[in-house]
Amino acid sequence: MNRIESYQVGDTAHIEHLITADDIDKFVELTGDDNRLHVDADYAKKTSFKGVVAHGMLGASFISTIIGKHIPGDGALWVSQNLQFLLPIRIGDKLTIAAEVIHVQKRQKLLTLSIKIINQHKQLVQTGESQVKVLDLEESKIKMEQELQKKVVLVTGGATGIGAAVSALLANEGYHVLINYRNNKMGAENLKQEILAQGGSAKIFQADVTHRESVEKMVQATIREFGAVTALVNNATSKIIPQEFDTLEWDDIETHLRVQIQGAFNCITCVIPELIKHQGSVVNVSTIYTSSTPPAKLSGYIMAKAAIEALTKSLAVEYGPQGVRFNTVSPGMTETALIADIPEKVRLLTAAQTPLKRLAQPENIAHAIAFLLSDQAQHITGENLKICGGSVMI
């Protein structure tokens, strides 16, 4: 609603003020008007006023107060004023400055106020009319600033494992979260309900990130629902199935490339106009094994992860000038369903060989991603943050 709508003829407000010698001194200091009628008692006695008179505009200055703080208060633009000085104001006078709305021009958003300044003897000392514009600008600006501060993240593969931890954490940090899933609708729905129950904001969207059209629809739905996309987490990944190289078909390799590279490509290209608009940020999820000796038989997975790190750096350079940041996180082995097929002994060995003597929890990775998306990381781009308990130190 326009603020002008809330005013009607007859609305009133008033303030009171006791005029002191100090007021006059301050007015002289401010304006430089040290006319002897105001500051020289001997001189003033010899005039027809028979004593010191306060500056007429000192009394009138309180019209500014009543407009600026009461009618209409914030958002007031004082556009015109006429004044009649009827009686002198003297030190010790207690003034009542009263304003009454006498005309409302809704289209022009103008209020006309009748101003009456009365002394303690109920004498009208000044009178006039003010015209004040009631601005909606400030509210619009605040709303616009709120829109700019709005944080909306799209998390691919956001229903399970690291993706679920990221979705939950970012929702808790005030993001509107679009949880993308491919097959796990129940997991996505349950996560959404958990977020909503904690007062967060989340929606789920089924999309295979390798399908361009699906991703376009998902991004459009996010913008429609939340008004923007300010962050993207490319977390969707292909299943890790150890396979000897000489048994691989190209399709096996391509599956990893499609999900991780084509998927990230689709998502980034669809959201990049939004990210430029909102100075957004992208975090791609890789693996520590691109920086260290990788486990055997995971060539397709490792190859795709190495490629996404290269993509991150390339886009950090390309979009840095437009204010969009790209970073990678490289988790060590993390306790998720993704490692279900990895033998227990390998998991135990990995933990034992890690300085912190444990595998990562999804939440550990989520906190690193949240940091990279946040303003605290506003000067970090093209970085690859390792979250591996110290197993790789470069």
């Binding site: 227990e344 002994k345 135990l348 060995l349 034992a352 060989q353 003597k357």
Partner: protein, 78 residues
């Protein structure tokens, strides 16, 4: 198997059996040094009638990994 391993560890590393947990390792058992580790390996081989490879010996980096290695060798004992 778990209790038997704990008994051997208690004996070799000179520690109360109650103090051996699934997180026990050379990091928190003072006496689990390289020399006693070999004594521990010998005792395990004798107790379970097995022969551990060099790789398995180095993999036994904590109590849980000792069990994992032993289960790998004789799954039926798990």
């Amino acid at each position: 198997m778990e209790e038997k391993v704990k008994e051997i560890m208690s004996l070799i590393f000179n520690v109360d059996i109650e103090d051996i947990t699934e997180d026990s390792s050379p990091d928190n058992l003072e006496n689990w040094d390289s020399l006693r580790h070999m004594n521990f390996v010998n005792a395990l081989e004798e107790e379970f009638d097995i022969e551990l490879t060099d790789e398995q010996v180095t993999e036994m980096m904590n109590f849980k990994l000792v069990l994992a290695v032993l289960k790998e060798i004789s799954p039926s004992s798990a």
